[in-house]
């Protein structure tokens, strides 16, 4: 696909960085030491009532905890491409943060290509686009060599 002049922007601000090696932006509770994602929408540890959240970049690599797909286009506020290609979704466990985070799997993978325990890294991909912008979200990308990589 040829690059056009569209500007890449996050579909919603504050969830991930846009760089060569993107990170999810999470929160870390200063006292309890636990994490949350998104940074402002996590649950609190009741044993640390006065805890404060600081913004942190979460680990880039995790392992697939489970995976599935959506064969039919999800309803709004999802903006489905036309024609719609089934999206693949993985729940990924981050080792250090000990938490599982949902995300789409990058284009070109089907559920048959995935397995529980497979290492993946976080990246960004296009959620939808209009005439000016390409709106991005975070996505999981398998690290395994044998996987087919249909990135064109």
């Amino acid at each position: 696909m040829t690059k056009d002049t569209k500007i890449e922007v996050p579909a919603v601000e504050g969830f991930f960085t846009i760089e060569e090696e993107p990170h999810l932006i999470g929160g870390r509770f200063k006292k309890s030491g636990s994490y949350c994602f998104p940074k402002s929408l996590g649950g609190s540890d009741p044993d640390f009532p006065d805890d404060e959240i600081e913004e942190v970049l979460l680990s880039r690599v995790g392992k697939i905890w489970s995976y599935t797909n959506s064969v039919y286009p999800p309803p709004p506020p999802f903006i489905a491409a036309e024609p719609y290609e089934p999206i693949v979704i993985a729940a990924v466990e981050l080792e250090e943060e000990k938490m599982v985070i949902l995300g789409q799997v990058v284009n070109g993978y089907s559920v048959e290509d995935l397995s529980v325990g497979m290492p993946v890294e976080v990246t960004v991909g296009t959620l939808y686009e209009d005439s000016e912008n390409r709106y991005l979200t975070w996505m999981w990308k398998p690290l395994s060599e044998e996987q087919k990589q249909d990135k064109n």
């Binding site: 579909a11 601000e13 649950g43 959506s70 999800p74 489905a80």
Partner: protein
């Protein structure tokens, strides 16, 4: 806590008509009152389960139903807990009765649902995880069901055929339920021929959205006795659990689990805690249960509940299903009504509908789907954003 008595139950059949939800609720309420042989004027408190899909009248479901039955000054409240709303409304009614605020309460829930996936209401809300999971990921409800089904396959070696067999069993039960939306008996081939919605789950294994209504009339045991009802079906326990931090399992509608980095998760998981609560409140154990109505939004979820309610050990649910234990006639029949797979989601009505079914089972009024000599029944249900619910009935 003391038991309360069920004096009557009623349902409007589940279907897809697109009529005003108030009509379904009113029909269910009148049937429940008829079943109780009581007049609406004898009800001291009406407890409505809220629907968020039918505009303002849905947000004030209790008074909407009261007005439809005829405003007469009755005390009212409305409750929302997503899919657990009906159990919350029942619990509010129980509190009114046991505090002595009223003798008789009417609990009612009804809904009119749109076609297709349940989705957030319109608007842009970037601080609402329910909105974000659709917008940023495309994570519909079946996506979460699919993730847990795949996990079950990975952990316990469950197969797609196991999931399909749940639907086969429940469809056999539903044949005899005039309130169910789907009465067709399905064979394995029918299910494997239906399209995948969220791998590994197929269309016939994921519950649809339906219209429907359900109502229960409850009272104190003393008041029941004063009406000459000496041996009613009783509600012995109600659970309305929230999870315990950190919950390590991904659940609707969150984008991530809690972190277990510095706190070890509770030994008893969220879903397990729901059944545990009612068992302890009623002073019984899972081995005492004769029949269960569980929340099978997907066929695979029913298998999870067998373990979470303690009917078997983790990993044994598939055997329990395959040896017939959870079919009518088996050791612990589950979803004799046909379950949500046969009904579909009518959100505020379904936790009440589970109670209706168990009332019929325990009162030996379930006709051709009767579970023989059922004396103790349990419901299990869960609403998104951390609403677990269970009701334990006894006779």
């Amino acid at each position: 806590m003391e038991d309360i008595a069920i004096l009557g139950v009623g349902m409007h059949p589940w279907g897809k008509w697109g009529r005003n939800f108030v009509e379904y609720g009113t029909v269910a309420a009148r049937k429940a009152l008829d079943d109780a042989q009581l007049e609406w004027s004898e009800v001291g408190f009406i407890s409505g389960a809220i629907t968020v899909r039918c505009g303002y009248p849905g947000y004030v479901a209790g008074s909407t139903m009261a007005r439809a039955l005829g405003f007469n000054g009755t005390q009212v409240a409305s409750s929302y807990a997503a899919c657990a709303s009906g159990a919350t409304a029942l619990s509010v009614a129980r509190g009114q009765i046991l505090s002595g605020a009223c003798d008789v309460a009417l609990v009612v829930g009804a809904d009119t649902t749109p076609d297709g996936f349940l989705a957030p209401n319109d608007g842009i809300r970037t601080d609402d995880t329910d909105w974000l999971r659709f917008h940023m990921v495309g994570a519909t409800n079946p996506v979460y069901f699919g993730l847990h089904a795949r996990r079950r396959m990975e952990l316990y070696g469950a197969t797609q055929e196991d999931f399909a067999l749940v639907k086969v069993k429940n469809s056999k039960h539903a044949v005899f339920n005039e309130n169910a939306r789907f009465n067709k008996e399905y064979a394995l081939e029918d299910i494997s021929a239906s399209p995948v919605v969220s791998d590994p789950l197929r269309l016939l294994e994921i519950c649809t959205t339906s219209d429907g209504g359900a109502a229960v009339v409850v009272s104190s045991l003393d008041y029941a006795k004063s009406l000459g009802v000496d041996n009613p079906v009783r509600i012995s326990a109600i659970a309305l659990n929230t999870p315990t931090y950190p919950d390590p399992l991904i659940d609707l509608p969150y984008l991530a689990t809690d972190s277990s980095a510095n706190t070890i998760p509770n030994e008893i998981g969220f879903k397990e805690s729901i059944g545990k609560h009612v068992y302890e409140e009623a002073g019984i154990g899972p081995e005492d249960v004769d029949v269960a109505e569980v929340y099978d939004l997907a066929s695979s979820m029913e298998l999870d509940w067998y373990e979470q309610l303690g009917f078997c050990q983790p990993g044994e649910a598939e055997s329990l299903l395959r040896d017939g234990s959870t079919s009518i006639g088996g050791r612990i029949p589950v979803n004799p009504s046909g379950g949500l797979g046969a009904f579909g989601e009518a959100v505020p009505a379904q936790a009440i509908a589970q109670v209706c079914e168990l009332n019929w089972q325990l009162a030996q009024q379930a006709g051709k789907r009767q579970v023989e000599d059922a004396r103790i029944g349990i419901t299990a249900n869960q609403g998104l954003f951390g609403h677990g619910s269970s009701v334990l009935l006894r006779r």
